[in-house]
Amino acid sequence: MNNPRYAKDAALVGIALLVIVFQTSVVTRISWPLNGPNLILLLFIPWVLSETPFRAALIGFLMGVFIDLAPPGNGPAGQWALVMTIVGFGLATYAESSRDLARSPLVEVGIFFLGAFALLLLWGVLGVMVGDDRASAKYFFQFIPGSLLWNMVLAPFVLPLVRKTTFVRRIRR
């Protein structure tokens, strides 16, 4: 409704695009043991936790479309968009219904874990449904656990940072 809010939104969109680019061109290029962290999840999940379900679904959709269309993406367009829309909406709805719960650091990490797991699993299930080769047994039994492990290691440091960046959104309406 006022200018600072839109400025903040624009900044967050810029950050999100940068994170996606950084993830696809730097992080995935490093050969981590057990697949390495996913910065997109580390930004997306805490971000939507401090948004309304409406905005969270929109954010998820837009980020997903960008991931789907940005260069390394070769799956069907809309795969990430669908998954991130659903997970974004779900997480935001949960965070709204139990607002004070989400502010405990331990619960926050726990929710992050569930959200990340749901997102990766949903992506894989959708991949299996549409016959995506990348959604193989290796993805489910090696990539998902490894990715979750790395993200859980980084979560305690990254989540508070993202929460502080997006905090203004909590004082809404």
Binding site: V21, F22, T24, S25, V26, R29, I30, S31, W32, P33, T52, P53, F54, A57, L58, G60, F61, G64, F66, D68, L69, A70, P71, P76, A77, G78, Q79, A81, L82, T85, I86, F89, T93, L126, V130, G131, R173
Partner: protein, 311 residues
């Protein structure tokens, strides 16, 4: 609040439908999304490229960090491979050198019609009075005492003793070594004997024979080809000793074979049917005649201006 929630659900449904539509459209294999993909790609690719260019060293560092163990193994393996390849290279270089020598030697033997057994020098004795070499071929290979031993250049010596798989060769420079020779191109006969040094003494039987520096000598050949088959090049006269009044003429001969660098020799196991005469001597290298043509260009005359001297 309620209105918000309804709006959110509506948006969720719309977005899901759009996503599913997109997935379906894209999976149908049409080019629906190639346009949007191109647009996004043309915007994002340069950014990705520059970002990864900037961060590549860091990325490599981390990649290396996660692969320290396998990298170490790789380094060890490469070092090992390198060492082996280097050793192989040295061996192959040596083999190539040997091959040339062997070819030259076999050419010599082939031209003469000798049947030879090639052998490698495995030992060498230069101490004391006798100069002998050990070779790695013996009676197994059909070698018998008093056979002629040659190398790429010419005569090396004769076999003095034979074991099953090795033999000893008395070298041409040994002081007890004597071989009857013929002055190439003439019928003048002589005897060459070793000096114990790198050179040989030539004694010509006829004191009237003209012998000049540069004259070449070939082995005369013994009865039955033992100990010397005929026609083997022996050496070249380097100086003639003037001995007026003596019955024989003396000259110093340098052997064709460089015994210091000898590596492969051949034992002549059967002499040629006919005497090869002088055909085995190294062909003279034609001396190039240098003609220098000088083209002089007339330079414009510059008259030297007399410098007026001040008195």
């Amino acid at each position: 609040m309620n209105r918000d929630r309804r709006r959110a659900r509506l948006v969720l449904g719309v977005l899901i439908v759009i996503s599913l539509l997109a997935i379906t459209l894209d999976l149908r294999g049409g080019s629906t999304f190639s346009g949007p993909r191109n647009v996004v790609s043309s915007v994002v690719s340069p950014i990705q490229r520059s970002v990864s260019n900037v961060t590549r060293p860091i990325g490599r560092f981390f990649s290396d960090l996660t692969k320290i163990n396998s990298n170490r193994e790789k380094i060890n393996k490469l070092t090992q491979d390198n060492r082996e390849l280097r050793a192989k290279q040295i061996t192959s270089k040596a083999t190539a050198g040997k091959e040339t020598l062997l070819t030259q030697m076999l050419n010599l033997a082939g031209n003469a019609g000798y049947r030879v057994v090639p052998a490698q020098i495995i030992s060498m004795s230069q101490s004391g009075f006798s100069r002998t070499i050990g070779i790695d071929a013996g009676s197994d290979s059909g070698i018998a005492p008093d056979m002629t031993v040659i190398a790429a250049g010419g005569l090396v010596g004769r076999v003095v003793s034979v074991a099953t798989n090795s033999s000893t060769v008395l070298v041409i420079t040994d002081e007890s070594f004597k071989v009857g020779v013929r002055l190439a191109g003439t019928q003048a006969l002589g005897v060459i004997s070793g000096r114990g040094s790198g050179l040989l003494d030539l004694e010509l039987l006829d004191a009237q024979t003209e012998v000049r520096v540069g004259d070449e000598l070939v082995a005369r050949g013994s009865v039955g080809g033992k100990p010397f088959v005929p026609g083997v090049p022996v050496g070249k006269v380097t100086s003639v000793v003037q001995t007026p009044g003596a019955l024989t003429r003396i000259a110093v001969v340098k052997p064709f074979v460089n015994l210091a660098t000898l590596d492969i020799v051949a034992v002549v196991v059967s002499p040629p049917k006919t005497d090869p005469r002088d055909s085995l001597l190294p062909r003279p290298i034609p001396t190039p005649t240098v003609t220098v043509t000088v083209t002089a260009q007339p330079t414009p005359d510059v008259a030297p201006t007399p410098i007026p001297k001040k008195s």
